[in-house]
Symmetry: C3
Subunit: 463 residues, 3 copies
């Protein structure tokens, strides 16, 4: 009960603009934070080892010894590097019942066995440690919230202490998200270190596929032409070749986005239970499906733009001009018209659905959907997208696979390679949709298990 | 006061990783949830009717009788179907002062007169019932948060109980949104059942309009040509016809998105008050304006893509080639150039604004806008969009309506039909903007009423 | 302690659907709010100066004197204009320990020295004033949440009072964001008055640049042609001219989006510290970089659409037809093909990155990124975008700057003017990336200062 009174006392002071905050450490972090707190109407006192020779502090702030500073305020910001936390153990009596705000970060993950904030709590067991502000950039700490620095995450074991810190963060203009007890501190400390962790695998994959198909098609198109006809068509690299590589990579990555779901279903069917964990590689793959899909969308977007500028290109205008007079004499071919128009139509519809999938991947949109709606779009419409795009590619190929002239140097055209994975995914999905398979799968996903654990052991004895 | 101490006691235990949770029910839901809780560092005890023959539970969990399990923990997850809640009434003494988390859902809406959680509270009046986790998919309960499964909604009458559940949800990686008292339980229980409720009417409308205009134009274009000239141009269905249907549907739906606002204003002017409710059909219509607009945008997007591929199509290349030599001899016509360029320009600007409207419909963007900003964009810029798109269509038609050859089989071309609704909306809006009308409307919307209720009755007597 | 009990008492009543709320004021606001509260299951009593002749109130609500109404409920909504708050001072005894919800707004900013809610708190020092609901439109207050009216912001000094208001707001269907103590009231009261404050400068700039380049190019292209060759090519205004103005404005605005960052770095290098504030103009400029960038993206989007319709235009088809026969005879030029394809490729890649920057500017996306990720995209990829777009423009110009025929009336072509700012920004950025400069800058940004304050004064004495 005492604690609450203590904090309430200060909250009433807050309204008279006299709330005093303490900062331990006069380094860059402490100085930036202090400046911001002063601008927001707080009084700031610094705690320093050498109060008289500690370097400049923001105008209006006082500098005292650690002990004196700690006694003057009920909230203490620890702007010290973790290596120097040691001395706080001696200050533990002065820090009793104080709210200690740990804003520290480490240079890399797993540098220490326990989170900085948990270490701090261990040093000062009777203080209320709150981990906060560490996910903000130094710029945001000094200048206030901006785009990706609007949210302050905090965690700690004392609700009252978290409320006091929330009050301060809100006053500085941030919005606060409570991440629970202090055991979440490690997660918060790892957050600022991350650089697109889930994007790495998909990005590498996209890069690898792009490089492979670029060289493959370079060989087949440009080098082959040069080798056999001594004609330099290297200028086609910039648009024609790019516009072959992008759709191929896009289609393969879209298929790779749906492949793990199919594999997972096969696993569940084979094992007859949903309670056994998938192998690690499948788990990792499933986690980055969204990223795979978004990269596939980016490649599809480039493919669309590259396709749409075709008629403006100098090279194409030249070719049209050259072929115009020839074409006039040919009769109009309805089959070709049907095929080419279906080809474009499938592509456009596929791209339209692709964009829809992308939009529902935006965090605010997917948050607004119930999971039934989300899975309807991402699964049902997702497979429809894959089907449209695959069909679009088949229409592109048409009967090309029959003519040997397309197998230059005995290699199949790039589009054929790109059809492998999507076709496999679509066929497997169709098999899973067969009534008998679908029924088993649904039962397994509702918790049914084919064999009891003991039966399993018996079975292995028998067979 | 006792309750708070009780919960605090367990919160301190939480930090030592010994927090014990109880789950009633060893079905799929209880098993999935238990697995997840164990992975997050909780201890789990199951309550079962037949503790010794209850089927498999996750490794590390204990199974006890309901009574023993309830006594061991302060938070009990009820993973039982509502039909079997009955026995909990006898357990009421053991569940006194416990936090009961109701995670149940029903198979369809309005199956029972009261929400499951309210029924549970009635059975165990001295327990603290919290409705939570029911909006997550079983997959998310077992495997942790993913895209549309990040938010846990909860409601309940006890703040402390909600805090305890919030702590658990946060620890499992979810973010929590408090939806208030237990009376919100029904809303939460209906949430997972919904499948785009507000999208149904607009989707049906879009489908109906598309089908109607498809067959209308199929008759006028393909069948008419075949009937009168014996020429098969059915290949035009895939692109040319689609590219007529899509803009028509888009324009009509955009106009339908602004029509209810105009009708509502007419209602208010006619009734002389804003306090009387609109008829139900108008209310429903107004609620799905956003969905109408977004579908209109999707159709416009397809129209843009279908238009942009025109010059790449085989059919068009063929036609250009055939007409090239003829065209060279004609003199350049400045009027046609002006008209065609204005036509494209209006279309592009209209589409640009369309996209802007779509972007501001994204939840995170519209949340960041003040309503004055939002209504500026959706109303002012919305009407501008409608004007651009309508003008674009008029420019397309130009003097076509004067030539009788366009009225095949006495039917007007599709674009004329599409102009009806938008023109009506724009004319009505212009009338509402007349100073005298606008003044009355503004006064009504500020709360002024033309006649007092009693006057109203007098008036009806006199006239 | 008493207060809490008081509120809890009513919370338990809430569950029996008997919670009574009081509204002071029977004007439009009070009436709309009352209607909504009644629909949500609350009982409503109005406080009025003239309870017997106060105009219509929603059906089901009672009207009493202010004193009687205040005594009947523990939460009082003040739906009175600030000018009439005076009488509340006499009611202060009756309002003691009541939660007063201030929903008022002003007609313009800075109309009064203190926020309405703070004024109310001063009049009734023993009441718990909460500022809330004022950011909603009257429409939302009457009809419930809609797109930009989903969030209720509130602030106040009493946590319990804020919880009571949160409960009500949640029940009305809104989601609540706590903005801290009552000192945030002014900010909340200014919020509904704002109309794109950060967009004004960028919009004016965009408008100014567009107007300037429109007239500049009109003179150079249309008027010059008319003056020298008596040929009317005014029809080119709609597309050709627009498609010159849009990319120029887009490129300049993109460069202006990165210029302030470079200038800030130069300031920091020159001053040798990061703790001195930037001049006001630079601060303002840096704050609206996002808006500058998004407008630049909008112009780039229009440029893309205007470019893609080129081959469909009547004028272009005419020109192609006229030049087809001539072109057939020219030999194919590989250099031109390389240049034109690179030109398109750079443009597409630049636009793709542009779109990526736009997507990461969406609030929900930038919230999901750590600041390290956000700054990677907005800074690294941003400069890459600027480079692609600038290079695209250089490729467009090619050797045009060498030929005097392009300097009509001694003015340079528009694209040259557009290259000035981006080139300066890119060169400055390259200079800042030089190892020696980069090292100093990094040290300064980590808190290092070149000269101590006292040294600074000495230095000024010496030199």
């Amino acid at each position: 009960m005492k604690k609450t009174q203590h904090l309430n006392l200060h909250q009433s002071k807050l309204n008279t603009h006299e709330f005093l905050l303490c900062i331990f450490g006069t380094g860059d972090l402490g100085r930036s934070l202090g400046q911001r707190l002063l601008q927001s109407g707080y009084k700031v006192v610094y705690g320093s080892r050498r109060p008289h020779s500690c370097g400049p502090v923001p105008q209006g702030a006082q500098v005292m010894s650690h002990t004196a500073a700690a006694q003057s305020a009920s909230v203490v910001f620890i702007c010290i590097q973790r290596e120097h936390y040691g001395f706080l153990e001696q200050l533990a009596p002065q820090l009793k019942r104080k709210v200690l705000v740990d804003v520290s970060n480490n240079l890399r993950k797993n540098l220490y066995p326990e989170a900085n904030a948990e270490y701090l709590q261990r040093l000062t067991p009777e203080a209320y440690v709150v981990k906060a502000f560490n996910t903000l950039s130094a710029w945001a700490l000094q200048n206030g919230p901006s785009d990706s620095n609007r949210q302050v995450y905090l965690c700690g074991n004392s609700t009252e202490a978290k409320e006091a810190v929330t009050e301060i963060a809100t006053r500085l203009g941030f919005s606060v998200q409570d991440r629970g007890s202090l055991s979440a501190a490690r997660e918060l400390e790892d957050f600022p270190l991350q650089l697109f962790p889930l994007w790495r695998l998909p990005l590498r994959l996209a890069f690898g596929l792009t490089a492979f198909f670029f060289f493959y098609l370079l060989t087949r198109d440009v080098i082959y032409t040069y080798a056999t006809q001594k004609k330099d068509i290297s200028f086609r690299i910039m648009v024609s070749l790019a516009n072959k590589v992008f759709p191929i990579v896009s289609l393969i990555m879209l298929a790779l986005c749906y492949l793990p779901g199919v594999i997972a279903a096969v696993f569940q069917l084979y094992r007859g239970t949903k309670y056994r964990r998938f192998p690690d590689w499948l788990d990792r793959w499933m986690l980055c499906r969204k990223q795979l899909g978004l990269l596939a969308l980016a490649f599809a977007f480039l493919h669309v733009l590259y396709t749409l500028i075709i008629p403006i290109r100098y090279y194409v205008r030249y070719k049209i001009a050259a072929s115009t007079i020839a074409k006039v004499k040919q009769p109009h071919n309805t089959t070709i018209a049907w095929r080419s128009d279906s080809y474009y139509s499938m592509g456009i519809l596929g791209f339209g659905l692709y964009v829809l999938l992308g939009i529902t991947s935006l965090p605010s949109v997917s948050n607004a959907l119930s999971w039934r709606e989300f899975s309807f779009i991402q699964s049902k419409l997702g497979y429809l997208t894959l089907f449209f795009c695959t069909f679009h590619t088949y229409l592109y190929g048409w009967d090309m696979f029959l003519r040997s002239s397309y197998y230059k140097w005995y290699t199949p055209p790039g589009y054929m390679l790109s059809l492998l994975v999507p076709s496999v995914v679509l066929v497997l999905k169709l098999l899973l949709l067969l009534p008998c398979v679908d029924r088993s799968l649904t039962r397994i996903r509702q918790g049914w298990e084919r064999t009891e654990p003991q039966d399993d052991s018996q079975k292995s004895l028998i067979t």
